[in-house]
């Protein structure tokens, strides 16, 4: 496994890249990184679990779409105040990812946006629950004038 030092994207978001072998054993590693970055973005427990589930679903579909045993997965996470964007692809970029109906339904219900394009999947998960809780807290604790 390798992980690059975090850098900034052109939008000023923090960028974290993780590379792991294309094997089911390493799904747990990506899930853990996703959970940590989701927590940093202010996700609720449910939103963190949604992101972890989405990562599992995509990487499992990638593994099912290839017979290669020596490729790797490159996951790029962009973390901002609004949420987390993830781009997942393979090292060689040779596979054509096919999501079955179940995987597509699951992704639709756990992330705000996802796009599959050849060997690459991009997804966006927004911290909506956290944002509404913060707004409610601010309203509740605001001093009356």
């Amino acid at each position: 496994m390798s992980a690059s030092a975090s850098a900034q994207t052109s939008d000023g978001l923090d960028l974290v890249e993780v590379t792991v072998p294309l094997r089911t054993d390493f799904i747990a590693t990506l899930r853990t990184v996703a959970a940590s970055l989701g927590a940093d973005a202010g996700f609720s427990i449910d939103e963190i679990d949604d992101l972890r589930l989405a990562i599992s679903e995509i990487v499992s579909s990638m593994i099912d779409s290839t017979t290669s045993t020596d490729d790797r997965i490159v996951a790029s996470f962009e973390v901002g105040a609004a949420g987390v964007s993830v781009a997942i692809t393979t090292g060689r970029g040779e596979i054509d990812i096919e999501l079955d109906d179940l995987a597509a339904s699951i992704l639709e219900s756990v992330v705000d946006e996802y796009v599959v394009a050849g060997p690459r999947v991009n997804l966006v998960k927004l911290a909506s629950e956290a944002a509404s809780v913060v707004e409610a807290d601010v309203e509740r604790t605001a001093p009356e004038r």
């Binding site: 089911t24 679990d49 972890r52 589930l53 099912d64 339904s105 699951i106 219900s109």
Partner: protein
């Protein structure tokens, strides 16, 4: 509890342990298929409160998938108890 249900519970536990170690979709789907009845039962309870059958069943199934994904077999709780709460939570979450 009957001998059969105890045997099923043990099979479940073994499957959940294997799934926790491998995160295999095939195992996940097998576990989901085993508990589809629970999701359908809870969706039926919510039918009285409105909503179409298909929508409720689909949301309940997503809740079941999430429950299988999150369940920790070492915690000691029964999966049905954990999944029931997770599926209900999913059904109570307002649609966007």
């Amino acid at each position: 509890m009957s001998d059969t249900s105890t045997a099923d519970d043990l099979d479940d536990l073994e499957l959940f342990r294997e799934f926790a170690a491998s995160r295999s979709r095939k195992l996940r789907n097998q576990l989901v298929e085993r508990h589809m009845g629970l999701a359908a039962h809870i969706a039926n309870r919510f039918r009285r409160q409105g909503g179409s059958d298909d929508d409720l069943r689909q949301v309940a199934m997503v809740g079941l998938v999430k429950a299988v994904d999150r369940f920790d077999p070492e915690y000691g709780a029964a999966f049905s108890a954990f999944a029931g709460r997770t599926i209900e939570g999913e059904l109570k979450t307002p649609l966007p």
